[in-house]
């Protein structure tokens, strides 16, 4: 009963607010509409009270329209609907449906009047302030409204997809079915209101399918699960398309929609006992060239929001970055005050205590703001679950993906950049790793292959593990191929780690046959390059016949880098510590000049090329004699060299700043950072430096 009580309280509260709301305040109306949405969710879908609240939400949406002529009439209708619904909830079983029916009638009439008003207005030539496009129909709505619809629908579809995937394991989970049902239902309602006929039609049919599933008439497995998933995809495509051609007024209907509609209608008619015939391949994801910078992005990550019931605010990344910039400056300003000589001369424990207290707050503030960019990996993992499902169907191997640690948070930019490498590795795992069911049975393994995808924090890094229980890597074949391609010498004794790391070499693919799924010759080298760009590491562990584990170790954020500050002449540069192997002062006699130009230094039994940073960057006043200076051994794009600098000044975490488009092509520099004294420092790109130095020494 506790549930209905909170629902009752919620509705009563809502009613009170509706009576107090100022119809001209769009944001307030929107907040109320969202509340109503939350309340509707706790009702049974497709029940009568839910229907009333749906209509009420539509009415509120109409109120938020700039063109709304009589908002107080609509608001009164909404208030009476809320009263009816709360009474209904309160009375429980011995309810009187007439109040609800009356509310539905009132709301329906109010909405109809409103629409009639709108269409009459549309015919009046004079346009007031709303930007009305030439074409009627979809574009009559304010872009914000469409954007909001898109954001909300994407979120719902994300939840629906997760639920559908969960349903595959357990097709009778009514709770999950209801989640999907709610998603389609909400989209149907909103699309109907916005006049998006195609979307409404498709979501309506999809809802029917789900309703039948809920009633036990069909099982959401195999063919029907496919249909539901594809409907979700198709809806998502259409809805995202709204943003792309917002204002253009044209709505592209994806090619497979007609066919989908047909299948859905058919499923509707013949019910669940129909034999599944040939299912067309799941259409590849269409172009995702939706401009998403300013508009609300499809929030995979935000899908956790509805569950935790925390209210959220969408903020543009630009504003977030500005905030982080300002806080960075605050930290610098604070440390300048803390180290001020005048203040330390004044002395006084009270002052110094106040300053250090302010310092602590400022540092906390910095941590908090940096945390704002973090999002959980949940969305990414969810996509991978879908990917594995689709790949498994295509390749005909039973494979399941088990995820753990999806709540692990990582910088949102990293989330985007991680997608491609993960997709690649999972494709590899399904295509090359997992054996066919027969092979697995012969090897005494479970017929279903299992891929584990785990994420966790470890020593300031995010670790992502991808483990399959497939056949493992074939050392001999990798080495054999590498020898054939001339990557290694045949008589070279390779350690296991060296041999396996050959798969990261460009152009080495171990697939026996090219399949549609993977094996186009571009493989792990792309993954390695992507992970390198994220300043991460890939490790690989494999056991013949037992499977392969890839471990990605990534920094928490791309925004901060651990760097070694080095001095050359009067300039200071930062070297990312993950590309520094060691530093040493060359012993007398360990330096060589090869054929009169290339300088080399011997470190134990290794010979390294020496590149002088002062020469490369044309810095005056640097140390010229290598024996007085320091050598920093750096690694980049698979090569190593000794970089000659004057001095190491210490290691610190710095916030990376883009130098802007203007300097994007400057080689050897990957970005800038604000040093503790407030000056800008350059972050060196070790790979770029090595390439540049080689070119220069070859040209010399």
């Amino acid at each position: 009963m506790a549930k209905s009580e909170t629902l009752y309280d919620g509705l009563e509260d809502f009613k009170a607010r509706i009576l107090a709301v100022d119809p001209a305040d769009v944001s307030q109306v929107t907040v109320l509409r969202e509340r109503l949405g939350t309340l509707t969710q706790s009702l049974e879908p497709s029940s009568q009270p839910a229907h009333v609240l749906d209509l009420a939400a539509q009415a509120l949406q109409a109120v938020a329209q700039p063109a709304c002529c009589d908002p107080s009439y609509l608001l009164a209708a909404v208030a009476s609907a809320a009263t009816a619904a709360s009474q209904n909830v309160d009375e429980g079983a011995n309810q009187d449906p007439s109040a609800l029916e009356h509310a539905i009638e009132v709301l329906g009439r109010a909405l109809q009047d409103q629409e009639a008003d709108l269409s009459r207005d549309a015919q009046v030539p004079e346009t007031t302030d709303a930007p009305v496009d030439a074409s009627p129909g979809e574009s009559q709505w304010a872009p914000e409204l469409i954007a909001e619809f898109v954001a909300e629908s994407c979120e719902r579809l994300g939840e629906a997809e997760a639920a559908l995937l969960a349903l595959e394991a357990n097709p009778d989970d009514v709770e999950q079915i209801n989640t999907v049902l709610r998603a389609f239902h909400t989209i149907k309602g909103a699309a109907g209101f916005l006049g998006l006929d195609h979307i409404q039609k498709l979501s309506h049919l999809a809802e029917n399918l789900l309703a039948r599933a809920r009633d036990g008439q069909v099982r959401l497995a195999g063919r029907h699960a496919d249909l539901a998933l594809r409907s979700g995809d198709c809806l998502k495509e259409m809805i995202e398309g709204l943003l792309a051609d917002a204002g253009a007024g044209s709505s592209d209907v994806p090619g497979d929609m007609q066919e989908l509609l047909g299948s859905l209608a058919e499923a509707d008619e013949i019910g669940g006992d129909a034999q599944s015939d040939q299912i067309p391949a799941i259409p590849a994801c269409p172009s995702d060239n939706v401009a998403q910078d300013t508009g609300p992005e499809c929030p995979d990550s935000a899908s956790s929001r509805a569950r935790t019931n925390e209210s959220t605010v969408r903020v543009g990344t630009r504003r977030l970055d500005d905030l982080i910039d300002m806080v960075g400056e605050l930290v610098i300003a604070q440390s300048i005050i803390a180290q001020d000589l005048d203040i330390s001369q004044v002395g006084g424990t009270r002052l110094s205590r106040s300053i250090s207290r302010a310092g602590k707050i400022v540092r906390d503030l910095q941590q908090q703001t940096m945390g704002l960019r973090m999002v959980p990996l949940k969305g990414t993992f969810q996509k991978m679950t879908r990917l594995v499902r689709d790949l498994a169907r295509k390749s005909g191997k039973p494979v399941q993906l088990v995820t753990a640690g999806e709540e692990t948070e990582i910088d949102r930019k990293m989330v985007e950049a991680l997608n491609d490498p993960l997709v690649h590795m999972i494709r590899n795992a399904v295509d090359h790793g997992i054996e066919s069911a027969q092979q697995r049975a012969r090897a005494g393994k479970d017929r279903t292959g299992t891929i584990h995808l785990r994420a966790y924090h470890s020593t300031g890094n995010v670790v992502i593990e991808l483990q399959d229980d497939g056949c493992g890597l074939d050392r001999d074949r990798i080495v054999g191929k590498a020898v054939k391609r001339g990557l290694v010498d045949a008589d070279n004794e390779l350690s296991d780690a060296e041999a396996y790391s050959l798969i990261f070499h460009p152009g080495l693919s171990t697939a026996d046959k090219l399949t549609e799924v993977s094996g186009r010759g571009v493989g792990m080298d792309v993954v390695k390059r992507n992970i390198d760009q994220l300043r991460g590491h890939v490790e690989l562990n494999t056991a013949r016949g037992q499977g392969t584990t890839f471990t990605l170790r990534l920094p928490l954020t791309m925004a901060i880098v651990e760097a070694m500050l080095v001095r050359v002449g009067r300039e200071r540069y930062m070297l990312p510590t993950n590309s520094i192997l060691r530093s040493f002062r060359p012993e007398p006699g360990s330096l060589f000049t090869v054929t009169g130009r290339g300088e080399m230094v011997r470190l134990r039994d290794q010979l390294l090329p020496v590149f002088r940073l002062h020469r490369l960057f044309d810095v005056a006043g640097a140390l010229i004699n290598p024996e007085e200076s320091l050598m920093v051994v750096i690694e980049g794009r698979g090569r190593q060299c000794a970089l000659m600098v004057d001095e190491l000044l210490g290691q610190q975490q710095v916030v990376i700043k883009s130098l802007g488009d203007m300097f994007s092509a400057v080689r050897g520099i990957s970005g800038g950072a604000i040093l503790p004294d407030g000056q800008v420092g350059m972050i060196l790109d070790t790979g770029g430096i090595i390439e540049l130095s080689r070119e220069i020494s070859e040209a010399a």
């Binding site: 400056e329 005056a620 203007m662 300097f663 800008v680 420092g681």
Partner: protein
Amino acid sequence: MRRVPKDGRPVNRRDLATTVRTKEWAMSQQAQTVMENVGQQTGKHLIFSLGGQDYGLGILQVREIIGMMGITSVPRTPEFIQGVINLRGKVVPVMDLRSKFGMPAQELTDETCIVVACLGEVEMGLIVDRVSEVLDISDEQIEETPSFGAGVNTEFILGVGKTDEKVIVLLDLSKILSDGEMKSLSDGDHQQA
């Protein structure tokens, strides 16, 4: 001549005045008075001098004026790119206009300052000898750039404004920040010492 930049962002006088900040070198009193005279009209120009000649930049293209501050040089860029500064947490490139216009370098003075100009999204600091005043220059006062023959590069000049006592060279910010120039940054064929 009324030029309204594309983004048309109104510059509000108080904003400009409060964003004037000094560092290391105290900003000249004059520059401060200049900022207080900034009006709303697009015909207003910020006048600054370089090697004795007055130059003007449309006031809507000027974001703020700051005193000279520590500039970090960016390796392998043309000489006129002085480097980058930290402008309240943002990294902003700084160009030495003397060097850009082929004038000899000069010792820094108390009056040397950085005019932060903006063109759409692009911000750029311009080092000038001295900021003198804000002048209203009407269309009638502006003449086309006279031809000086092949020896003088008039590429960055929008026109010449004449007032009672002086001649002001009006600069074309978009040309100064133009793509062609910027590309040369990335060429990297920059002579080694």
